[in-house]
Symmetry: C2
Subunit: 152 residues, 2 copies
């Protein structure tokens, strides 16, 4: 049976995951990419290098992030409607710290996702500094189906 | 090393998968959901019930579908830019046949995805008839990282 997730269930799912899909839009056309992220009390922190996604989010900060947990017997999915906020200065440093703490404490798999996150915290070269952003959460909805287990 | 996927590699990935993420947009805001689909020579066939996604795609048919294959050592991801086309009549019957053939021949997991696809082909009640759509492919791009294995 399908059911709606409570706000605290949505937050637990977002906190327990670090992989999602992010959509943005320009000129009436959507664009969508997989992203790694870290949940923080102020919003969803992500990182990326310059490119199409960043150009679009700079021009139009409305974004949608979807995160899911699928097992053999159940699924749950959370959709975040939010606003893209590119970080700089102290906010950027704090966000990088949050990423660094997450990488240090979480069991991140597959290995290239972990390496990707480490590269965001400790860029291999100055030219490789990623853009760090935070999605300010405007609204969250979630749905689930089947027998859900506890989130690990 | 990151590399661009050739068109035939993009098509092979789309053919070998049946789970992706679909983004649409309205009023400058994106929306994003996980979807099950079947690749056909004419486009990507999907199904859904009435709701926010359908309302948005009916109002603005520009969509973006992203499909990925992630293993411990590599990932590949394909992005389809396409146009939503709600099917009726013979086209709908042909699309439902393609879904039915896929369900009969493919090893679909987890079980609820298989059940969901069967329900699209053989709705449990007339009121439950899903909307069947085809994404006409306008452009496909793909990228990969790491040592890719053959697609199964």
């Amino acid at each position: 049976m399908m059911r709606t997730l409570e706000p605290n269930e949505c937050e637990r799912l977002l906190k327990s995951r670090y992989h999602g899909h992010l959509a943005c839009t320009a000129d009436g056309k959507p664009y969508l990419v997989p992203v790694s992220y870290v949940w923080t009390p102020k919003g969803i922190v992500g990182y990326t290098h310059e490119g199409k996604k960043i150009d679009m989010m700079r021009a139009n900060p409305h974004v949608c992030l979807q995160v899911e947990d699928i097992t053999d017997r159940a699924w749950r999915s959370v959709v975040v409607y939010g606003t893209y906020n590119e970080l700089s200065g102290t906010e950027k440093t704090t966000a990088i710290d949050a990423l660094g703490q997450f990488v240090a404490n979480a069991k991140i798999s597959p290995p290239f996702v972990r390496e990707d996150m480490i590269a965001a915290v400790h860029p291999p070269a100055p030219a490789k500094h990623p853009v760090i952003y935070r999605i300010e959460i405007d609204e969250v909805t979630g749905r689930a189906f089947g027998e859900l287990s506890d989130l690990s």
